[in-house]
């Protein structure tokens, strides 16, 4: 056994991706083939793609739910679904889309892209990364197992008490939702910690904080936000579960309990969550748009600060979901004002994009079309949000279809359109092949037209007084045509989305070979082959500007990044950690190898939560003991990772 190496000066070499060094790195970083390798990989690229695919599976499930109840609403007095079935479907639709699709898909992009954008070889905690994926997957399966067993939540995604309390809602549907939500919350929180440490510590040398890719600003900002906001909703669901299954009294409506506390705890998380599912998407647009427009982003600093500002303000607006609950006018005035203030950072981003397009030379590919479509729906969704931020207007519109229209403009417009742009942009990096542009055009236009035809009329039916969450409506209210149009639009939108799946399936096999940098883009991920090798970068790049691959065209010659020459770091799986602000190299970190432990620990943790149904204390205790034992093995200090202070045989 060799003595642990505590210190060295890393070799600086110039090597390509076909060198012997690269082959050595490949042997170190590669996941072994076969079923064991599949279950134990910690490669962020593999995990990122799994996140995206799983999130899309939930998107399809949630979409089918919506398409079923849109049929019900296509005309007045239709009875395809009973009221209870309708309640279950719209709840599952909301829960699936907002919790198990919208954020995890962005996590997938970030997990795949962040180490590549930052010029490093993996996330800060690779095994934790695998663990958070498995927990996310199992939490979603857990929720849908309840669905299959007929225990379906039916109180809407925000699940207000006392409607969701046991005296008014028997059965296990709400418990499945509560426990699945806490489980997902654990995954989200640990994932956020992973992103914060990765982005603050793992950047390539020289990538000081003012050179951070704009997309990393989005991920960093919301990760910090989620670290502070996630406990609120987990606690709310934990209280609710205790009320329902242990018999405590937090919000069940009896005696001195406080049902309104649920709304506070829910929305203290809920509003930052809205930003969590849009800010990374917005910053994806800021990352893609300059590539399509052939120039650096206009107003980088302003846009980065606007992202941070949106999140900060996002913690002071939760009561705008509760304007109609009878709070003091002082509270309403404050929260109304902050809600309207958020327009300012949103407008900063908007003008940054407009200026980038205006002063650039846009290439009209599918990715750009989705960016442009995004900007249009961003404005419509922003304006309807601004309207409901005003207290008297909100009193008129709350619980109507206007709010449903607004939320879909925000969540589809600001999330899915950006995700689509991201897929067309980064699919070549993920797979090595380009998506088909001809199908892409159809994909965009069907989705864009279907979306606006489907969701814009919701604003009008809301203004005409149609309440949300009604399972049917009588004739002659003036809502018939609007609802029919909405249903038709949503089906066009679904067909448009289907074309993406077709395009992915076809192009994965037959698409044009992409090469390292098909878009002639500026950020570090495009300096690697497509798809990137397991170790990402053969040498750790040294960064001297925000657009390291465009420097020949933009920079003075004395200020150049070094892409092909840098620290080689091949004494085992290694990455460089740099200082949080200046990105000066500080330490060579030893990274863990693939392991089955994250999967096993995630299974044990899921067992703890499954035991919460009932509750079955034996299952909770047994799973907790197993999880603890696995954690102990997982964290056992290791000489090879230079975690210990002495070499021992």
């Amino acid at each position: 056994m060799t003595v642990t190496e505590y210190e060295r000066a890393p070799e600086i070499v110039a090597e390509g991706y076909d060198s012997a060094t690269a082959a050595g790195l490949k042997a170190l970083w590669e996941t072994e083939p076969g079923i064991k390798g599949w279950f134990s990989t910690v490669d962020h690229k593999e995990i990122g793609i799994r996140y995206i695919v799983t999130a899309f599976a939930f998107l399809v499930a949630g979409g089918i739910e919506a398409l079923i109840f849109r049929l019900q609403l296509a005309g007045p007095e239709l009875h395809l679904l009973g009221p209870e079935q309708y309640n279950q479907l719209f709840t599952m639709h909301g829960v699936t889309m907002i919790l198990w699709y919208a954020f995890p898909v962005l996590t997938g992009f970030s997990v795949f892209l962040q180490p590549l954008l930052l010029g490093t070889r993996d996330m800060a905690f690779p095994r934790l990364n695998a663990f958070t994926y498995w927990v996310f997957l199992f939490s979603g399966i857990f929720l849908y197992v309840g669905f299959a067993l007929g225990s379906v939540p039916n109180a809407g995604w925000f699940n207000y008490t006392p409607l969701a309390s046991r005296p008014f809602n028997s059965g296990f549907g709400i418990d499945f939702y509560a426990l699945a939500n806490i489980l997902l919350g654990i995954s989200t929180t640990l994932g956020s910690i992973n992103f914060v440490v990765t982005i603050l510590r793992e950047r390539a040398p020289g990538m000081s904080i003012n050179r951070l890719p704009i997309m990393s600003w989005g991920t960093l900002t919301i990760s910090v936000g989620l670290i502070f906001s996630m406990p609120s909703v987990s606690l709310a669901f934990f209280f609710l579960w205790m009320d329902r299954r242990i018999g405590t009294h937090f919000f069940d409506g009896s005696g001195e309990t406080q049902p309104l506390l649920w709304q506070h705890l829910f929305w203290i998380w809920g509003h930052p969550w809205v930003y969590a599912i849009v800010l990374p998407a917005i910053s994806m647009i800021s990352q893609i748009l300059p590539v399509s427009c052939r120039r650096p982003l206009v107003g980088y600093t302003a846009l980065a600060l606007a992202t941070v500002m949106t999140m900060v303000l996002g913690f002071g607006v939760w009561v705008h979901h509760m304007f109609a609950t009878g709070l003091s006018s002082m509270a309403l005035a404050f929260f109304g004002a902050v809600s309207i203030l958020i327009v300012i950072p949103s407008a900063v981003s908007f003008f940054g994009w407009i200026a980038t397009i205006w002063t650039g030379r846009p290439v009209l590919n599918t990715s750009f079309l989705f960016c442009a479509g995004f900007i249009i729906v961003f404005v419509i969704g922003g304006v309807s949000g601004f309207m409901t931020g005003s207290v008297p207007v909100d009193w008129q519109l709350t619980d109507t279809y206007f709010v449903v229209g607004h939320i879909h403009y925000v969540l589809i417009g600001w999330n899915l359109f950006a995700v689509m742009a991201g897929i067309y942009h980064w699919f070549p990096k993920m797979t090595g092949r380009l998506l088909d542009e001809r199908i892409g055009r159809w994909n965009f236009w069907l989705m864009f037209i279907g979306f606006n035809v489907g969701f814009f009329p919701m604003h009008i039916s809301g203004l005409l007084g149609m309440p949300r969450r009604v399972y049917t409506y009588p004739e002659g209210m003036g809502w018939d045509t609007l609802n029919l149009i909405t249903t038709v639009g949503s089906y066009v939108f679904a067909i448009g989305f289907l074309l993406l799946i077709v395009n992915v399936v076809v192009s994965r096999r037959r698409g044009a070979i992409a090469g390292p940098n098909p878009w002639d883009a500026d950020s570090l991920e495009w300096s690697t082959p497509s798809p990137p090798p397991p170790y990402n970068f053969v040498v750790i790049p040294a960064v001297a500007s925000r657009s390291p691959l465009w420097e020949e065209r933009l920079q003075a010659p004395e200020n150049r990044s070094s892409i092909g020459e840098g620290m080689v770091l091949d004494h085992g799986k290694e990455i460089a950690a740099t200082s949080a602000i200046d990105a000066q190299p500080e330490v060579i970190l030893k990274m863990p190898e693939d392991s089955i432990l994250p999967l096993l620990t995630a299974l044990a943790l899921t067992g703890v939560f499954a035991g919460g149904l009932g509750p079955m204390w034996w299952l909770v205790a047994a799973s907790a003991v197993i999880a603890l034992a696995l954690t102990c093995v997982w964290l056992w200090p290791r000489d090879r990772l230079a975690q210990t202070a002495r070499p021992h045989p």
């Binding site: 505590y6 210190e7 000066a9 890393p10 600086i12 800060a124 905690f125 934790l128 956020s192 910690i193 914060v196 440490v197 510590r201 040398p205 020289g206 000081s208 670290i227 502070f228 996630m230 406990p231 609120s232 987990s234 606690l235 209280f239 205790m242 018999g247 405590t248 009294h249 937090f250 005696g255 001195e256 309990t257 406080q258 506390l261 506070h264 705890l265 203290i268 040294a542 840098g566 004494h571 460089a576 950690a577 200046d582 990105a583 000066q584 190299p585 500080e586 330490v587 060579i588 970190l589 030893k590 603890l628 102990c632 200090p637 990772l641 230079a642 975690q643 210990t644 202070a645 002495r646």
Partner: protein, 206 residues
């Protein structure tokens, strides 16, 4: 920004002190845990300031007979653990083992006294809103003490096996900072549950 020089730059390797990813991860974890306790106490205050039919707390002001000495014990344990961490970094093996081991024992005693405190209550978890809050807030804290105790136990055992010393001690620092958090957050819980009712701040009129 400072000049980037890579040539011949000696760098430490592995998990070293405050440069270790684990240390940064633990700081983030503590932040999210701190937020959890803020929301727990928000729930308590939210209930407390609403109009009540009787006094708040309904069963009278909780006694400090056991809670105050127990608080002092827990705070003292932080210093002992700090002393153990200091011993680890300076290669004093007996300091290291004694500090971490005694810190663990003090935490375990705190947990036992908390158990007695629970037993002595005349009300149970499901008696009412105050009771649910009291047991849940203190229960969450005890759960965190248990996690802290596991960490202290682990680093004590690993120290006994000779894993940590001046060259590498990140694990000890990570366990220690979590323990300090568990102690610090208890001060806020103690203030909320035991002191605010005495200050007469939360006796909202019926």
């Amino acid at each position: 920004m400072s000049e980037l020089v890579l040539e011949n730059r000696r760098l430490p390797t592995g998990s070293i002190g405050k440069l270790a990813n684990g240390y940064w991860g633990m700081i983030c974890f503590i932040l999210t845990e701190a937020a959890l306790f803020i929301y727990l106490q928000f729930a308590y205050y939210y209930h407390a300031v609403q109009p009540h039919q009787g006094p708040w707390p309904p069963e009278g002001i909780p006694s400090m007979r056991m809670a105050l000495p127990n608080t002092i014990l827990l705070l003292a344990s932080s210093f002992v653990v700090w002393w153990g961490e200091h011993g680890t970094k300076h290669g004093r093996r007996s300091h290291q083992l004694l500090g971490l081991g005694i810190g663990f024992l003090m935490g375990a005693v705190f947990l036992g006294v908390q158990g007695l405190e629970w037993q002595n209550k005349t009300f149970g978890l499901t008696s009412g809103a105050y009771a649910s809050l009291f047991f849940t807030v203190t229960g969450f804290h005890m759960a965190h003490v248990v996690v802290g105790l596991f960490l202290l136990l682990a680093v004590t055992v690993w120290s006994f096996l000779g894993y940590f010393g001046p060259a590498r001690s990140a694990y000890v620092s990570i366990a220690a900072i979590y323990w300090h958090f568990v102690d610090a957050v208890w001060i806020t819980v103690f203030f909320t549950l035991y002191l605010t009712p005495r200050l007469g701040l939360l006796w909202a009129a019926p």
